[in-house]
Structures are given as structure tokens and as C-alpha cells.
Amino acid sequence: MITFVNTLINGILYGGILSIAAVGFSLIFGVMNVINLAHGVFVIGGAYAALVAWTRFGIDPVLALPIVMAAGFAIGATYQRLVIQRAVERGTPVAALLVTFGFALIVINGLNVVFSSTVRNISPSYSFLNLRIGPISLDAVRFVSFLTALALIVLLTLYLRRTRMGRIIRATAQSELAARLCGVDARWVYAATFGVGSAFAAASGVLIGMMLPFTPNDEVLWTVYAFIVVTLGGVGSPAGALLGGILLGLASTFTQTYVGAIYTNVVMFVLLLLMLLVRPHGILGSAFKGSR
């Protein structure tokens, strides 16, 4: 019973991280209909940025979070304007897909050259603290990361729902033509959306860096996880990402506890395949489209 409760809690905590790692991917996919295969690169890039901040400048990862997010926004927006937008204007969605893949390869190569492919981790002083509630133990870093992830997702929801910019983004997603007729500069909106998506990816990287060991080559996994989360929960909405993330987190930890650690990825990928076959638009459907 205690194993079960622990697994459940760990699954939810891990799910929160998966959600924040996927929410940017979901936003970009929902608004621009571009699958960003470089998403994992932004996640891992965030982890390395936090690593540098921690080892070189002694800045705590949690404090580095806003800086990393700002950098992620700038890089993402520039990358969208210089590369992605041109590929999209070439006409085919596959062109954009390939371009993001090419970008991912370049960055991964760069990270491998600069940081080597050794496994890294960030361990601030509090990283081995455990909160104990009766027989249930709670990893402090995971718990804090989960709360941070949750807060960021709520923030993003409010941003999309309540602010002028959020409204503009949603309007452009609904119909680019109509938005442009109302005086919206769609290309600028896309750049901003991509920037926000990248900032959230980078933020998740910082949290992941504190929780798990990482190497540059992990990026593929994070891209695929993001895709699975989005497929499970539904494209374009933060709520969908949260739901999908927690489901995937639970699937992962329960497999780990009750089936065997080597099968976690198999179960996660099979879950993706099943979901694609049964309901490719996710549990919450196209929640983003429904909300407009």
C-alpha cells in the first residue's frame, strides 16, 4: 500500500515536470502547426545553462530560472524569425519539421563539443533533503520543481486567457488571415509564441537538471516525451499538457515499480502508439480550439 502511494506521488511529481517540458511544444504545435523537433534541444539547453550558472557563477538554479527563460525566449524568437518562418513560407509542413531537426543536430553537436557527452547533474546543497509525512517520503527538489512547474503553467494559462497578447496569440491560431485583417502582424506573433514556447522548454530544463542526470543526447527523449504528453492530453492547451504529463508520469513510475525499470520507455512509446490510433487529438480534444 505504501509502495502504491509513493509510486502515485512520484508519478504526479514527475508528471508535473513532463507537463512543463511539453507545454511549450504544445503551444507551438497548436498555434503554428509546426512540430518543433528542436524542442528537446531547448530543454537540454536550459539544463546546461543552469549548470553553467551554478558551476561558474554560483547562481542557484531556482534563481537562474528567470534568466534562462529570458535567454530561451530571445533565442526561440530569433530562430523562428530567421529559419522557421522561411521554411513555413516554403509551403510544406514537412519542410518546417526537417528544418527544426537540422537545427537540433547543430545544437546537439555544439553541446557535445563544448560539454562532452559525459552525464552531468546539478546538485545544490538541498538536493538530498527528504520531507517525511508518516511512512511516505517526499523528495524536496522534486516537490519544489513540481510546484514551480505548476505555477508556471498557471501563469501561462493566465497569460493566454487574460492578457492582450494572449488574446492576439489565440486569435492568430484560430485564423491567421482574419487576425491579419484586424491589424495583427502574424509573423511577429509567431515569433513571440515560439519565444514563449522555448522559454518554457528552457525553464523545464532547469528543473530537470536539478532532478535527473542529463547528457546532450537526451534531447530526442524529451522531444518524444513532449509529443506523447501532447498526444495524450490534447494540442494547444496548458490544461491538456498538464493532464497528459501527469498521465505519462504515472505510467512511467508505475511501470518502474511494478514491471521493471527497463520497460518504462517501451510502455511510454506504446502508450503513444495506442493513443495515436484511438484518439490522435488527445483526451481534451482540441481544447485550444474549443476555448476560442
Binding site: 512540430i35 510544406t92 514537412v94 537540422g102 520497460y263 517501451v266 506504446v270 502508439l273
Partner: protein, 324 residues
């Protein structure tokens, strides 16, 4: 017209004979490069049967390379044959059958997906296969498995594998050309242009897609076994590598998705560039590939073959304009 076809077949035959004999005078390093070109072009053409004809871009074809490689290795472990040709036949046969069987099982559900979803689902298939090859002890993927040495004593090793790879490439190309000229081929072209319209006009789209998928997978598996034999010893990481899927796509893209010449030209160009020009910059291979992908998509989306063809047409049009 008929004499034209004759001339073409004769030229093709002469080319194959030349390609068969040429490496006997080349130094071993270049024979290895030629072998890599044959395998690379073969993989690219096999990918093209689904990705080029029907525009179903698979990002996970390395699954079939791996399945072929492991099927060959496990089959050779189970059935030992005294003669090298028989052993080669067992390995390649097992590889082709295993890949075709797996493809046939997943074809129906996975081909219901389109566009991005198909692409990513194939990526997931490749990851599942790789994880299973490592996780299930019977497949021995984590520790690795060796393939028996089948090179006859009288033949140089690199020559033997060059000939095997050349055979694989010629076979793949022949199958692809046959498909392009067949009813399935035209059906696949129709799917590429507009799948819904094709279906409404009575093209059995599902059947054609499944056939193309299974053929593509079987050929990839066959070539994968050849690739594995050349390595000699395989692990999950060496045959289920994502970069192998990538190479197929990049070769097709560099050459161009317009015709079957594309994957061949792409494989030759990319292999020449990476093996010869960049041979002492190994650590920047990935970045270089990334730059090539971005440059091709942004500047010549029709690939090298399409680019040359367009230039030629433009020159012809200009020449005709001057003549008038």
C-alpha cells in the same frame, strides 16, 4: 523509341558490369567508400518507396535496419550452414522476412495516421524496437551479437562486402523502378498529390500504402542485414541508431524528392562529402548534416537533381527565346 530503350538497357548493363569490376583496381579505402555509397543509396531508395512515392515521411526506418540485422544474426546463430552462400542466404532471408512481417503487422494501424502523426509514430516505433532489443534477453541487444564470418578465403573482405552491397542496391533500385512503372506506383503518386481525392476516385489507397510500406521495410531489412554483416558485431546502439533514419531522409532530400535519381545522387554526394572531405572533422558531422538540411530546405527544396533540371530547362527556354 525502341532503339532508345535498347541503348538505355545496354548502357545500364555496361554500368553494372563496370561497377562490379571497378573496385578490383581501387585501393581498399575507396572500395569501402563505394560500399558505403551502395548501402546508403540502397537505404535511401528503400525509404523513397514510401517517403518519395507516397509522401509518407518515416522518421523511424532504422527500426527495419535493426530488425533485419538482429534477425540475420539470430537466424545464423540458430541455423549453421556449411557453405558461405547458404549461410548468407539464411541471414538475408530471415532479415527480409522478419522486417516484412513486422511491417505487415504495424502497417494497418500506423498508416491510418497522416503527415506529422505518421512521422512521429514511426519515430516511436523505432524507439520501441530499440528498447525491446536491449530489454529482452533473447535478442541480446545490450551485450551484442556477432555474425558468422562468411567471407571466402580467396576474396578480399572489402571486395566481398562491396559486391554484396552492390547486389542489394541494384535489387532495391530494380524493385523501386518496377513499382514506379506499375499500377501501385501510379496509385502511390495519386496518394502523394491528394489522398482523399485518390480515394474518392476509387484508388484502393490503404492497400497500396500497406504494400509500399511492407516492400520498403523488407528491402530496408535486407540491406540492414548486409550492413550488419559488414560491421561483424552488432549491438542495439549500432543498428537502431537514429542517425541511420536521418541519413536516408537527408540523402533523398539532398538529391531531391522528384525522381529515383534523387536518392542515388544524394547518397553519392553526401557520402563523398562526409567520407572524403570531412574525414578528419568527425566530431562536426552532425552539425554539418544539420546545416545541409536547413540549406536544402530553404534554398533548393527540390534537391540537387531538381535544381539541375530546372537550370537546364531555364537554359533551354532562353536558347529558344534567342533563336526566335
Amino acid at each position: 523509341m525502341a532503339s532508345n530503350a535498347w541503348a538505355r538497357s545496354t548502357a545500364l548493363l555496361a554500368l553494372v558490369v563496370l561497377l562490379t569490376l571497378l573496385p578490383m583496381v581501387l585501393p581498399p579505402f575507396y572500395v569501402r567508400v563505394a560500399m558505403s555509397i551502395c548501402l546508403g543509396a540502397g537505404f535511401a531508395v528503400a525509404w523513397y518507396i514510401l517517403g518519395g512515392f507516397a509522401a509518407y515521411y518515416s522518421f523511424g526506418h532504422t527500426a527495419f535496419i535493426g530488425i533485419g540485422a538482429f534477425a540475420a544474426a539470430l537466424a545464423c546463430q540458430a541455423w549453421k550452414a556449411p557453405h558461405w552462400l547458404a549461410q548468407l542466404g539464411i541471414g538475408l532471408g530471415a532479415a527480409t522476412l522478419a522486417s516484412a512481417a513486422v511491417a505487415a503487422i504495424i502497417a494497418w494501424p500506423i498508416l491510418r495516421l497522416r503527415g506529422h502523426y505518421f512521422t512521429i509514430a514511426m519515430l516511436a516505433v523505432a524507439l520501441v524496437c530499440a528498447e525491446l532489443a536491449s530489454a529482452v534477453p533473447a535478442f541480446q541487444g545490450a551485450i551484442g551479437i556477432g555474425l558468422p564470418n562468411i567471407v571466402p578465403l580467396s576474396v578480399r573482405v572489402e571486395l566481398f562486402f562491396y559486391w554484396v552491397s552492390l547486389l542489394g542496391f541494384v535489387l532495391t533500385m530494380a524493385v523501386a523502378m518496377a513499382i514506379a512503372r506499375s499500377k501501385i506506383g501510379y496509385g502511390l503518386f495519386a496518394i502523394r498529390e491528394d489522398e482523399d481525392a485518390a480515394q474518392m476516385l476509387g484508388v484502393p489507397t490503404t492497400r497500396y500504402k500497406v504494400q509500399a510500406f511492407v516492400i520498403s521495410a523488407a528491402l530496408t531489412g535486407l540491406l540492414g542485414a548486409m550492413f550488419a554483416w559488414n560491421l561483424g558485431y552488432i549491438t542495439t546502439d549500432s543498428v537502431f541508431r537514429g542517425s541511420l533514419s536521418l541519413e536516408m531522409i537527408v540523402n533523398c532530400l539532398v538529391g531531391g524528392l522528384g525522381s529515383l535519381t534523387g536518392p542515388l545522387v544524394g547518397a553519392i554526394v553526401m557520402m563523398a562529402v562526409t567520407k572524403l572531405l570531412l574525414s578528419n572533422m568527425l566530431e562536426y558531422h552532425l552539425a554539418f548534416t544539420g546545416f545541409i538540411i536547413i540549406a536544402i530546405v530553404l534554398f533548393t527544396p527540390e534537391g540537387l537533381v531538381g535544381f539541375v533540371r530546372r537550370k537546364r530547362l531555364a537554359r533551354q527556354a532562353r536558347a529558344e527565346g534567342n533563336a526566335e
